[in-house]
């Protein structure tokens, strides 16, 4: 698995570098509308064609990578940390504490958070900068996405606490934070990595759905989610291959994240 992992890391590096050098690599500004050639196929001027408003798709993909590649993993990290903290604490404490926290988690999973998001939008000024809007969006996603994973972390922690190695660690005099950090947390990695890996594309896709609430990435700033919206219509049946570029890039990037994060097999 060493070579595929290396290739994955190189690919991620290339994607990151391309997005950082978008100003140099992009054939045109991401907001510029070439209104004479909307929905154009690939050409020398527009290697990935243009979108429905005549904007260069490659430029928007490069700039959109910055938003999605930076903020989605950050939001995924927030979710994972929250899930680890809440689920881990509940599972470690056990008893009524675990019951209480897990009941709260179940309640959290059931509530219609759509209305909280609508309220957040109402509280924000209308003229919020696109970048601020994006950061707030992903922060919200990060803060709302932990509940399901917390349950799994709690169950896992509970099991691990009763395992032999934890018993031995306690018997050796380990307790409190040391026990948590050095013995429990490393064994929670499989669950936490799973949560992290799942959250990245989920948040990228959720961001675009939040645009119906006035959140999400505001025009003309592109993101992978907004680029994927092109495929969500009847005209997908006659879609040009270049329109699938954001989807292919997302799949490739998430796969590479997965490969890069894997442990060596036992």
């Amino acid at each position: 698995m060493k070579r595929p992992r290396l290739l994955a890391i190189v690919f991620l590096g290339l994607v990151t570098l391309s997005s950082l050098l978008a100003g140099v690599l992009a054939p045109a500004p991401y907001a510029q509308q070439f209104r004479d050639v909307p929905d154009a196929a690939s050409s020398r001027q527009h290697p990935l064609g243009t979108d429905d408003l005549g904007r260069d798709r490659l430029s928007r993909l490069l700039y959109g990578t910055r938003v999605s590649l930076l903020l989605a993993p950050a939001a995924a990290l927030v979710t994972t940390i929250l899930a680890a903290f809440i689920g881990g604490t509940a599972g470690y404490a056990g008893g009524w504490m675990e019951d209480l926290v897990m009941s709260g988690t179940d309640l959290f999973l059931s509530l219609p958070w759509l209305f909280l998001l609508i309220t957040v939008r109402a509280l924000l000024p209308l003229n919020v900068a696109p970048l601020t809007s994006v950061v707030i969006t992903f922060a919200l996603l990060g803060c709302l996405g932990w509940a399901g994973a917390a349950r799994v972390v709690c169950a896992d922690t509970h099991e691990l606490c009763n395992s032999d190695f934890m018993l031995q660690a306690r018997a050796s005099g380990n307790a409190g934070i040391r026990l948590l950090v050095h013995h429990l947390l490393p064994n929670l990695k499989p669950v936490l990595f799973a949560q992290f890996w799942i959250s990245i594309p989920v948040f990228i896709l959720s961001e675009t759905n939040l645009s119906i609430l006035g959140l999400g990435v505001a025009e003309p700033l592109p993101s992978w989610g907004s680029l994927l919206r092109e495929l969500e219509s009847f005209s997908m049946l006659t879609a040009k291959p270049s329109q699938f570029a954001p989807l292919i890039l997302l799949i490739a990037t998430v796969s590479c994240f997965h490969l890069a994060m894997q442990r060596e097999e036992a």
């Binding site: 698995m1 595929p4 019951d99 897990m102 009941s103 179940d106 309640l107 999973l109 059931s110 509530l111 219609p112 958070w113 759509l114 209305f115 909280l116 609508i118 309220t119 939008r121 109402a122 399901g148 994973a149 349950r151 799994v152 709690c154 169950a155 896992d156 509970h158 099991e159 009763n162 064994n187 499989p190 669950v191 990595f193 799973a194 890996w197 799942i198 594309p201 989920v202 990228i204 896709l205 675009t208 759905n209 994927l228 919206r229 495929l231 969500e232 219509s233 009847f234 997908m236 049946l237 989807l247 997302l250 799949i251 998430v254 796969s255 997965h258 490969l259 097999e265 036992a266």
Partner: protein, 286 residues
């Protein structure tokens, strides 16, 4: 008996709390109490004022909730302003449809996710692992709206979309948990003793990961419910997910409170069952 009573009491309290919190979120969200009929230029001032008065939000939410609770105890689930039907009728018509969708999609999602996870773990091949991960990644990265359109094009049931949303999550959790279990010393010992691979998997790997897998099973039910809302709306499946979407757009308070309570009930039941089964498995191992 007392623990059963405590559990039942806790469940009832949580369900009502869920309803109250849901009602609060809906009531104080912007757009509550307005209707698009207000933009009808045919309406004169008097009619417009009457229309607005008829959508006036309840001033005292606690009072509304107590009255709602009182009606609920008498079996009256309220009246939906969006669908113009009693809530009980709407739920009776649509709940079975959603339960069928969720049952189908959770079963299919688990069958696919767990199968691929087991294949990935047992094959011990980097190519197989890559292939299975790629399949899961494709499902995870494709927007639900695109999957819905593909289902419609293929004349496949929209429920497949919910299954496609669940399966990569099941796959990833299951894969990682099973891999961890497979790396434990006792598995190595069993392998060294020449025990068959399938027996090792069924008796030594799976049971170790079972409590966590059951926890994942619990959350996939609530995941399926959450996914059902946009999927039923996209594919026009007449279930409670579609109802929830329409109720949300119309800010239909009574219907949304009821739906929140239903979702809370199902989530609690699923997760409690998963927890209980997990304890049974652990007790069995002991």
């Amino acid at each position: 008996m007392s623990s059963l009573f405590r559990c039942a009491t806790k469940t009832v309290i949580l369900i009502f709390l869920g309803g109250l919190m849901g009602a609060t979120l809906v009531r104080f969200a912007p757009g509550y109490g307005v209707t698009e009929e207000e933009l009808d230029s045919r309406l004169n001032g008097e009619s417009l004022r009457a229309l607005r008065a008829s959508h006036e939000p309840p001033r005292d939410l606690m009072r509304f909730y107590l009255q709602f609770g009182g009606k609920l105890l008498h079996g009256d689930l309220g009246f939906s302003s969006a669908m113009r039907e009693p809530v009980s009728q709407l739920i009776a018509e649509r709940f079975p449809e959603t339960m069928k969708s969720i049952g189908f999609s959770v079963a299919l999602g688990w069958a696919a996710g767990l199968s691929l996870a087991i294949l990935s773990v047992t094959a011990r091949s980097a190519t197989v692992d890559l292939g299975t991960s790629l399949v899961a990644t494709i499902a995870l990265c494709t927007p639900a709206a695109v999957l819905a359109l593909l289902c419609v094009i293929a004349q496949a049931p929209g429920r497949l979309v919910i299954a496609a949303i669940i399966f990569p999550k099941v796959f990833q959790y299951a894969r990682n948990l099973l891999l961890r279990s497979a790396a434990l010393p006792h598995v190595l010992a069993a392998s060294a003793r020449g025990i068959r691979a399938s027996r090792i998997f069924l008796w030594h790997i799976l049971p170790v990961a079972a409590p966590q897998l059951l926890a994942v099973a619990g959350i996939t039910v609530s995941m399926a419910f959450t996914a059902a809302i946009p999927v039923e709306a996209l594919c026009d499946i007449p279930g409670i997910g579609q109802l929830a979407w329409k109720a949300a757009l119309a800010r239909d308070l009574e219907l949304l409170v009821m739906l929140t309570m239903i979702v809370t009930t199902v989530t609690l039941l699923a997760n409690s069952t998963a927890e209980l089964l997990g304890k049974v498995v652990v007790a069995g191992k002991a």
